[in-house]
Amino acid sequence: MSAFETAGAIDCDVHPPSPRGADLLPYLDDYWKEIVTTREVDVLELMAYPERTRPYMRPDWKGDGDPLEQMQRNLLDPLGLEHAILNVVSGAHALFDPYLSTAICRATNDWLADKWLDRDSRLRASMLVPFQNVEAAVEEIERRAGDKRFVQILTLAMTELPLGRRIYWPIYEAAAKHGLPIGIHAGSNYRNAPSHSGFHSFLIEDHVAQPQGFSTQVASLIAEGVFTKYPELKVVLIESGVTWLPALMWRMSKDWRGARIEVPWVKEAPADIIRKHVRMTSQPFDGPDNAEDVAKALDHLLSDEMVLFSSDYPHWHFEGLDVLPEGLSADRMNKILRDNVRATYARLGD
């Protein structure tokens, strides 16, 4: 029932099933093969993003058979997508051993290229790099950068340290150099509790709390001066909910007017920095239930450039194209489905 043309759209958040230990073996050297086998490194699923649980599986998408063929049949073909960006939300982000994490990230990237990107030219992927091991993360970016099908670097909304910290800057330098946005995906590696009052009782609370992770990551990147240092860098917030962002823009700009002496390298109002550097995928969309108010909520961003289409296939958020809320003009819709995505991911044009 979609009232708009999806042909040529680009889907910025599509999830292949996470690879198991056996899937990664062909891409590991002998040492890591033995480690992964004897120490039983198999399922790497985040407690805060448990993909095998019910909320992550639409009942109608369960099924056997080749997952790529299913994706083609359920998503790529019917929507006529030009591209879909694969995001593996991996437990590699949460492993404590920085070298094991490095091995898993590299193998997962190889697996993505081999089992997915090589088999369907519409597919693109986010690269996994070990934020626990910054030097190795930069090596992995440099090793992989020549393959333009990798279009961004993935991390989480809730991490070990706020993402603006200088320890991560070499990753941003390599990302900026190669035109790779930093994709911040919903989820936590549980290094820190997801709330000021510790861990939640319920999964639904972790879900509800994700904007707290996204907002503080954006605040950190601004306050630490990452966008001052890397003016070309883009950040994409994936599965953030969208409508929480204006509140951060207003609050941070107001505080910056009063407190800028603390961060003299932040030369512009945070709201302006956010409009330049921060993008959000459209699904899930935390919106009011009528078209007029949806339009108002999006107006608060003061920009039509910031929202990028995503389906979140095959998670339960995915509702086909009905997910894009009512209240979007044809012009806004076109930007979300195509123009904004191309402007964000420079490597899609290569």
Binding site: L161, P162, L203, S215, T216, A223, K254, I261, D286
Partner: protein
């Protein structure tokens, strides 16, 4: 015929006094609270100070931007002492100047956050006695908050029982950065007492807590820390609803203080969306979260939201409902809101009187 009906409330709203839901009284000298402590705790304070999760003893870990840890530069009383420590000057600079009929005291001293639980309970009791003795006693426009050591529920109930007969206490106060999410059942006896006595619970954002101030660890800067403080209020709201507090205590009233409010519409849309999908995980939550939000929560307005386009504030006000918002100044802090200028959008007379007066009068039973 209609014109006078529209005009009359507008005029009366402008002449009626304001209710200020967030005033921070201060000690006139650093050891003033000792006067209200028994000898045992006086000696303890002298010998060991108050140990809390603040990594620095006696200093805020994120230095504030104005003298006095973030005070209005004009708020030092002419007779000496720190800002908001002198009743006469507070009356002159705040209550008289801004036509404030009622002001709710929100003491920020660390009773609720003391690691030593017995000391925490003693500090809360001292704070409560001090509020009455120095402030709400001599100045009837000021009303007090029953500060409780929320992690020690038994001591909290005893303190509520000790204070509740004194009608000058109009709410029960503790910080939102509780040791566990505050919807957990360990805190329910406090809510039972609050509901029983008809006292709202007031949760004021706090500058430090037991846990990092972001889900990714500690921020480097005040600029990030100040914003992140409002996240603790979001956790309070979500946790209390999703743990089923309001199914058990449907008349409980919760006031979220000094955390802004423009984050609320998006959070409520999110709560409802997730609840529709995952309600089987929380079967004790019988109704859409937005319904509890509409019935059980209120918000103070300072620091007022300042959208880049002023009229966007009206969207937020109407999504939340002007009957849930209560004006506050945060006197004497640097980001004080002046009731004459805080709202840069045109409010209807009904909205204005609700926000500046009526809602707080009714919620706190002020008379």
């Amino acid at each position: 015929m209609e014109t006078p009906v529209l005009e009359r409330p507008q005029e009366s709203a402008q002449t009626l006094g304001v209710v200020d839901c967030d005033i921070h009284p201060a000690f006139s000298r650093p050891d003033q609270l000792l006067d209200y402590l028994p000898e045992r705790w006086k000696a303890h304070m002298r010998d060991y100070a108050v140990r809390t999760a603040n990594p620095l003893l006696g200093t805020l870990p994120y230095p504030r931007l104005t003298p006095g840890n973030g005070m209005r530069r004009d708020s030092w009383p002419p007779n000496g002492g720190p800002p908001a420590s002198d009743l006469a000057f507070l009356q002159e600079q705040l209550l008289d100047e801004h036509n404030i009929d009622f002001g709710i005291l929100q003491p920020l001293a660390a009773g609720s956050m003391a690691f030593n639980q017995e000391l925490g309970a003693a500090l809360c009791a001292a704070l409560n006695d001090w509020q009455i003795d120095k402030w709400a006693g001599p100045e009837p426009r000021l009303r007090a908050s029953i500060c409780i050591p929320q992690e020690d529920v038994k001591a909290s109930l005893a303190e509520i029982d000790r204070c509740v007969a004194d009608g000058r206490f109009v709410q029960i106060a503790f910080p939102p950065r509780t040791l566990e999410p505050c919807g957990r059942s360990r805190y329910w006896p406090i809510y039972e007492a609050a509901e029983h006595y008809g006292l709202p619970i007031g949760l004021h954002t706090s500058a430090f807590g037991y846990r990092p101030n972001t889900p990714s660890g500690w921020t480097s800067f005040y600029l990030e820390e100040h914003f992140a403080a409002s996240n603790s209020l979001q956790t309070v709201l979500s946790s209390m609803i999703l743990e089923g507090v309001f199914e058990q205590f449907p008349k409980l009233k919760v006031v979220l203080v000094e955390g802004g409010f423009s984050w609320l519409p998006s959070l409520v849309w999110r709560l409802d969306r997730e609840w529709k999908r995952m309600r089987s995980e929380v079967p004790h939550v019988k109704r859409p979260p937005s319904e509890y939000v509409r019935e059980n929560f209120w918000y103070t307005t300072q620091p007022i939201e300042e959208p880049e386009v002023n009229r966007h504030l009206l969207d937020i006000l109407r999504w939340i409902g002007p009957d849930r918002l209560m004006f506050s100044t945060d006197y004497p802090h640097w980001d004080f809101d002046d009731p004459r200028f805080a709202f840069k959008v045109p409010l209807t007379p009904t909205e204005r009187s609700a926000i500046f007066r009526d809602t707080a009068i009714e919620l706190f039973g002020l008379k």
